[in-house]
């Protein structure tokens, strides 16, 4: 319980909502227990007949079920050791939003590949100038390709209006995969250094592979499972 209170305190301002469910058996003592322990997140009591326990196929206590920002159960039957890493991973995902139609396909790719969106507002010439800068630096070109799904759009068009872009000069706009604008930069006169800074500032935070592996091994130990590691690359 202290661990859960700590978790709720540390991640509450990022959107974590913790709800406890007590079994119906012994539920009459739950309120006193909650007060005694100083638990400040909501705790419910299951209905007789193990309705909640049965619906979620709970097979051990405590058992955790983690719901994403869109309300979908993303991880079930989770145990203590993997809880925080799972919470961190789901909190890092963008909040659901209504995407302009022009971004739908790119956003789907961005979600699937854990990328951000990059909308280049301007003329063909503006976009060619942008691409020319990135082509001069192979690492920069790869960084943009690895981290962003790029979309082109004219200034003053419907996408600019939908995203609230009022600039009259060519502009690069970074958004999360849910369509939330993160930052923009004027494309006119953009050099490699500023493009690098912009790309780094708005890309998805890189998870540490050592942490991912350690978390998986801890979960495997607790749940008596194996770890299947898939080594991949952006290309």
């Amino acid at each position: 319980m202290p661990g859960l209170k700590d978790l709720a305190a540390r991640y509450g301002d990022q959107g974590l909502v913790l709800i406890g469910v007590h079994t119906a058996n012994g539920g009459e003592r739950m309120a006193a227990f909650v007060e005694e322990q100083g638990i400040d997140y909501p705790v419910a009591i299951d209905r007789p007949g193990k309705l909640t326990v049965g619906a979620f196929a709970v097979d051990s206590f405590p058992d955790y079920y983690v719901v994403d920002r869109a309300g979908k159960v993303r991880v079930a039957d989770l145990q203590n050791g993997a809880l925080e890493a799972t919470v961190q991973a789901l909190l890092a995902e963008p909040a659901p939003s209504t995407l302009p139609a022009e971004l739908t396909e790119a956003a789907e790719r961005a979600v699937r590949k854990d990328k951000r969106l990059l909308v280049l507002f301007g003329s063909d010439g503006d976009r060619a100038a942008f691409n020319k800068v990135s082509r001069l630096d192979r690492a920069l070109r790869r960084e943009i390709s690895n981290e962003y799904e790029a979309v082109s759009a004219p200034l003053g068009g419907s996408l600019a209006a939908a995203l609230g872009v009022t600039a009259t000069e060519a502009t690069a706009l970074a958004l999360d995969a849910g369509g939330l604008p993160l930052g923009s930069i004027a494309m006119d006169g953009l050099d490699r250094e500023r493009m690098w800074a912009f790309a780094r500032e708005h890309k998805v935070a890189s998870a540490d592979a050592e942490v991912i592996l350690a978390g998986a091994l801890a979960q495997a130990t607790q749940q008596k499972k194996r770890v299947l590691v898939h080594l991949g690359a952006p290309w």
Binding site: K225, V227, V229, A233
Partner: protein, 100 residues
């Protein structure tokens, strides 16, 4: 698969320390990516996607699908033969869509 496996994906280029973890797990073995390895909870390798004929990568061809089945057979804890067969049926259904 979830009954017996905690599945993770490590991007050798985008994840911090991705290349280092890949090097530690794979050593000097080559054969391109994707590459898979199944570890026990202590981190010891049980089996990898290196079939006798080389890395199967993303299993698409029948022999690659078969090796993935071998990987599961060699490492599973709770999954029985029927479970593995069911996994391979699903994988084969996907693989068929990827074959040229």
């Amino acid at each position: 698969m979830e009954r017996d496996y905690v599945t993770i994906k490590i991007d050798v280029e985008r994840n911090a320390n991705g290349a280092a973890v890949a090097k530690r797990l794979r050593g000097e073995r080559s054969g391109g990516i994707p590459w898979m390895v199944i570890l026990d909870a202590d981190g010891k390798e049980l089996v990898s996607s290196d079939a006798p004929t080389g890395n199967i990568g993303c299993p698409v061809q029948p022999e690659e699908v078969a090796w993935f089945g071998e990987m599961v057979q060699r490492s599973s804890i709770r999954l029985g033969d029927d479970d593995v067969a069911g996994i391979l049926v699903e994988l084969e259904a996907y693989a068929k869509t990827q074959r040229r």
